[in-house]
Symmetry: C2
DNA sequence: ACTATGTGTGTAACCGGTTACACAAAAGAG
DNA sequence: CTCTTTTGTGTAACCGGTTACACACATAGT
């Protein structure tokens, strides 16, 4: 690999001049510029990011921390972040925290040691302590904790809409699934639904479970055994909804006539289920992009319109809910 | 952040001594060791990976290049790679090439500029040229091209098994989906199936399509319109199979009685479909781990038992194929 | 006692960039 | 035509590690 000194020699100038041309900083004569640029092309020179990073204490890397890369919701977020960053000439180190705090700590350490200029974190535990003494900004994605800037979708509204649609479509004995207690976003959508259900003339019960579909599978079995009269389920995410749907079909429930299900997230898989899953759509890709933009604004000290960006959710009507007359 | 000089001062020794203790290299008196280690703890010192990387021209980073992070097969691979690397104290920069050669080039450049010690690539195009003049090893994952070391699953066998199972279960007019021509792995599973179908007393036809489910959706529609008599479909991957299954149910085909479907990959979603998808399982997680091990062996100049590692595939019987008597 | 070898430690160069500073030449001001 | 300001360029220090090399001292061999 050619170094800046090779380029300098070839162009017959000093390394400082090359650096100035490279970064468009300080003075450089037009003729010299050309000499340098020619040399760069001839040698196919690419600056060594590591050397740069060492001196500037800043790389061109962003750390992205995901809780579970296998949940399709997160790759979707990641794509949004990636696309936005790419347009800014930045790159991602994606870390999969696997819902384990040790891994999270480990990745934050790596990010630090590699001079990332910022972190976007979508992890569950979000031990805010971990993020406290960092020399670069942190943006939380799909998470709300403490006073960190964040991007998330409107969980209260999402829960509310889910409950409304469920009631409007005639379910009377509803099971409401509650995601991990420590996740503010999970609690919001839960709370939104609870408030709505309390106001409606329906019975409902609450079941707490994680976001993973392994847990959801087991939970679904017990749910149908213990409460066979349930005629509507509001899941805490699509993965759980898929597990429930699967179990419901297995034991012969008729969907949506006998049992309605509403998921949450609108991951790509939801459309592929049969019957396809009605769900509350979170704009994952856009959330990723917004988080990236927000982080860049913070890094560049741009004035922030708002530190917390909330995106709207929408109800996606598919086949696990019954049709109703449109008259609102 | 404390530097090695801070540690040296605190411990009352030179930086060279600290470095030697840090890396367990060269001599260091037991007492000095303790002094240094104490200072490290007191200052909570962590070596700056960037500085290290600059001098050694080697980081502790591995580049992982995926063609499409949204296809659940790849996160699964990534997890395998990640887990293995983590045990070796290494970290991943995951790049999503998005099936675009420009992005692939861009990421390889980033990998270079950040002194990765190796790349694992699962991209489609695998323009081997891109990987030619790198100063670090490359391992291909789920891909076979030219003479690069690689890890993949046995596609010929996979295709063969799929065809056998399909025939054994009585389908007579089979549609065989063929994945992207440029992908050797896709071609292998196709070829395996063709060979088997030719020997069997069945009609079959070939349809080429990409791995994305958007394409598969459209393809499924035309397939059922033009060839309504099809009674068995061997898909090129699970995502396509899911799209086909969805369309088949939509138009009222009875599965598996009237139409059998076999997928390929066994992504987590396959189990969640209804009816759940019979498929050829590729051990994605293990493939990732093996690729990581292989890369590490190359990096550490360990003798290689084999440059190309082929893992076996298995038929996973679920509900999109009919039951048969077990008598082999 | 005299060298050969092993142990323990420090000094300084190096990795490949960036930039503070010095200095010279050119341009502009009076 | 001198004096200031702007422009253009080079030298060398710096970022925070690693390591070649020099040197001091201890131990062992003869």
């Amino acid at each position: 690999m050619a170094t800046i000194r090779d380029v300098a020699k070839r162009a017959g100038v000093s390394v400082a001049t090359v650096s100035r041309v490279l970064n468009n900083k300080g003075y450089a004569h037009e003729d010299t510029r050309k000499l340098v640029n020619d040399a760069i092309k001839e040698l196919n020179y690419k600056p060594n990011e590591v050397a740069r990073s060492l001196y500037k204490k800043k790389s061109r890397l962003i750390g992205l921390l995901l809780p579970d890369i296998r949940n399709p919701f997160f790759p979707e977020l990641a794509r949004g972040v990636e696309d936005e960053m790419q347009e800014q000439g930045l790159h991602l180190i994606i870390g999969n925290a696997d819902e384990k705090p040790e891994k999270e700590i480990d990745y934050i350490q790596t990010f630090k040691q590699n001079n990332v200029i910022g972190i976007i974190s979508a992890t569950n535990h979000a031990e805010t302590k971990l993020y406290e003494n960092l020399s670069f900004p942190v943006v939380l994605l799909d998470r709300i904790t403490g006073s960190y800037p964040s991007v998330y979708a409107d969980g209260l509204d999402g829960g509310k809409i889910a409950a409304q649609e469920m009631v409007r479509r005639g379910s009377k004995r509803i099971a409401l699934l509650r995601g991990p207690i420590e996740l503010r976003t999970a609690q919001d959508r839960f709370k939104g639904a609870v408030d709505e259900l309390c106001d409606a003339n329906v019975d409902f019960q609450v079941i707490t479970s994680s976001f993973s579909f392994h847990d959801a599978e087991k939970m679904a079995k017990t749910l149908f055994e213990k409460f066979p009269e349930t005629d509507g389920i509001i899941a805490s995410n699509d993965l759980s909804a898929a597990a429930i749907l699967h179990e419901a079909l297995r034991i012969g429930r008729s969907i949506p006539d006998d049992l309605q299900i509403i998921g949450y997230d609108d991951i790509p898989l939801s459309k592929l289920l049969f019957p396809s899953l009605s769900t509350i759509r979170q704009p994952a890709y856009d959330m990723g992009r917004e988080a990236a933009k927000l982080l860049m604004n913070i890094i560049n000290n741009k004035p922030l319109a708002q530190k917390n960006i909330q995106l709207p959710v929408t109800f996606i009507e598919r086949q696990t809910t019954r049709k109703v007359e449109e008259n609102d």
